[in-house]
């Protein structure tokens, strides 16, 4: 543009300054729009969470008498809903942790083993490829498609009888559901864990593994002393992902534990019915319950956040 202006001759310098001043003004206008847009999006994403949070601290009168996102006033503020949500969900928190933690750890570990096997072992590629294809296929089977086979499978396995010694110890036999959930979630989470670890191990230095082999380490020792200690970031990714999936899953718990009246009822089952009654919805209670149910996943994110970022970046 400025080149064109110069070839015009005399008036060129005047138009030049005018144009650059205009460009500056345009940039400022663009910036203002950009920031407005960003603030708007921030509000869009945060208002539901903010509304939920303020609602959970309101009395029933406060909920019906004020806008959802308005904070409670001193007359409508109460901690009572958090208290009753916690009372209702407490056992669910423990039950959920009982299967979510083991299932997460086991599926991450098994995924890591499997991925190590299909990347670093010296099997022929033609044997590895079909195995990997099976793992990948496993990722794409939707939860809904396996619900019926899943309940049939568990009705055929006499787990209840095998674990007789546990019930003899005085443990409620509803807890067979927790064991079933562990096995189911491990099986269902294994493919994605394997594929995630595989991409990580693919990028590991091949020469380093070869150096370890020449140093006299067997394939198991290489895993334990070299590969496993270097897998930290990917473990963070997989642990966070799997824990969130398993903790929040409702479908499998509906099939395997079924009712919130069960002694082994996970938090998601109890939460589903919390604050709902014939008189209507207790929004404040539901919000408080939702936050309590979300706290463990938040805690896991915070605990593994740094490694998570590293693992995602690789």
């Amino acid at each position: 543009m400025s080149n064109d202006a110069r070839t015009d001759g005399g008036t060129a310098s005047a138009t030049d300054t005018g144009a650059s001043a205009g460009a500056l003004a345009r940039i400022d206008g663009y910036r203002i729009l950009l920031y407005l847009g960003l603030v708007g999006m921030l509000a869009f994403f945060l208002i539901p969470i903010e509304s939920g949070l303020v609602t959970s601290f309101k009395t029933p009168g406060g909920v019906s008498g004020s806008l959802p996102f308005a904070p409670p006033t001193s007359s409508t503020f109460t901690l009572e809903k958090w208290q009753s949500a916690f009372d209702a969900l407490g056992r669910g928190l423990i039950n959920s942790a009982l299967y979510a933690i083991p299932a997460t750890v086991i599926s991450a570990l098994l995924g890591s083993f499997a991925a190590y096997g299909i990347t670093q072992s010296n099997w022929k590629q033609k044997y590895k490829a079909p195995l990997l294809a099976l793992f990948v296929a496993g990722i794409f089977i939707p939860y809904q498609a396996v619900l019926v086979p899943l309940s049939q499978f568990w009705s055929m396995v006499p787990l209840q009888e095998w674990l007789g010694f546990l019930w003899a110890l005085g443990i409620n036999n509803d807890y067979v559901g927790v064991i079933e959930l562990i096995v189911t979630h491990v099986a269902y989470g294994l493919p994605i864990c394997t594929v995630l670890f595989r991409s990580y191990y693919k990028n590991m230095s091949e020469e380093m593994i070869e150096a370890a082999r020449l140093d006299g380490a067997s394939i198991r020792r290489i895993y334990r002393r070299i590969v496993l200690p270097l897998s930290g970031p990917m473990f963070a990714v997989v642990l966070i992902y799997q824990f969130t999936q398993i903790w929040n899953d409702l479908l499998f718990t509906l099939v395997l534990v079924q009712t919130e009246s069960s002694a082994a009822a996970p938090i998601v089952l109890i939460l589903a019915g919390l604050g709902t009654s014939l008189e209507g919805q207790d929004f404040a209670l539901r919000m408080a319950g939702a936050f309590i149910a979300a706290l463990p996943t938040l805690a896991v994110y915070i605990a593994f956040g740094e490694e998570f970022a590293e693992g995602v970046a690789t």
Binding site: S205, E207, M208, E210, A211, A212, R213, L214, D215, G216, A217, S218, R221, R225, I226, P229, L230
Partner: protein
Amino acid sequence: MGTLELDGVTKVFPDGDGEVVAVDDVNIEMRDGEFLVVVGPSGCGKSTTLRMVAGLETVTSGEIRLASNVINDVKPQHRDIAMVFQSYALYPHMTVKGNMAFGLEESTDLSDEEIETRVTDAAATMGIAELLDRKPSDLSGGQQQRVALGRAIVRDPEVFLMDEPLSNLDAKLRSEMRTELQRLQSELDVTTMYVTHDQTEAMTMGDRIAILNAGELQQVATPLECYHEPANRFVAGFIGDPSMNFFDVERDGDTLIGDTFDYPLSQSTLDDIGDVTDLTLGIRPEDITVTEDASGDHTFSTVVEVVEPMGDENTVYLRFEDAPEGETFIATVGGLQRISVGDEISIEIPEKAIHLFDGSTGEAVHNRDIEE
């Protein structure tokens, strides 16, 4: 002891439907304590050869023997071989001490104290004693290189394998490490197979050089033999920098007829040639001399096309008077000799310095005279 023999070693990689022969019938015998440098252009199969000795690649056919035992099917961890990789391949989560102790912990029953002593000794040898508690990521390239070497020597193996260990270092450090590696190898007296594409390393470091091209072994000999008595045209061209000049010539009676020059031969040279007529004449740049007297049989008039002053010597690109522009050959002359582009100078190609190769097979039929 650590004698290493490669007997008809061949490696074939499947490639789609076909096959690629990466290493073709290589025979090398290394005596105990020998430093052999395997050199060749990229993709010549030198790394594959090394990896077969290490056990990281299977051997398609042939035998690899260590101390007379066939080790083709021995797993790498049981071969008692240490390897230094181009990327150093250090374990990033372990300290220098951990890196060096790893091999001893995995392959021996030594007690912790013994391992500690050996690691400390090896670290002292490599001059990295003060780095033992650092992680590899805190070290410079040269220090990492030393750790990688330390990790190899601490195990006191039968054989060292080195895969271009110096190629990631800068030029100054590389020449320092070259000297140090040589010193170390002769001190430890361990059979060493060293792969490089750098012919300076090949010439200066090894007791012998093995030159590979396209998977085939071209020559195994001392560096000076390879330089002065190359087995074929490939070796002659590969060893030496700037490389040997080649001219395609036809033998007619006792004269070689080139495109732009004739070169008469003496009887003794003719005896070497036998009845081969299609020949390649080779002459090293430093054997070409500038002369005042242009009347001899082996003197030629040339035009200077390019001069590259190196300080101690000039690399001069010359062209025979009758040759088309751009068809040059290289001579190196003293650094103080004044030669500039466009000069017409007379040069001598002395007969005692020429090499002759069979034009079709590339085999050497006559090598230069060597004054004893």
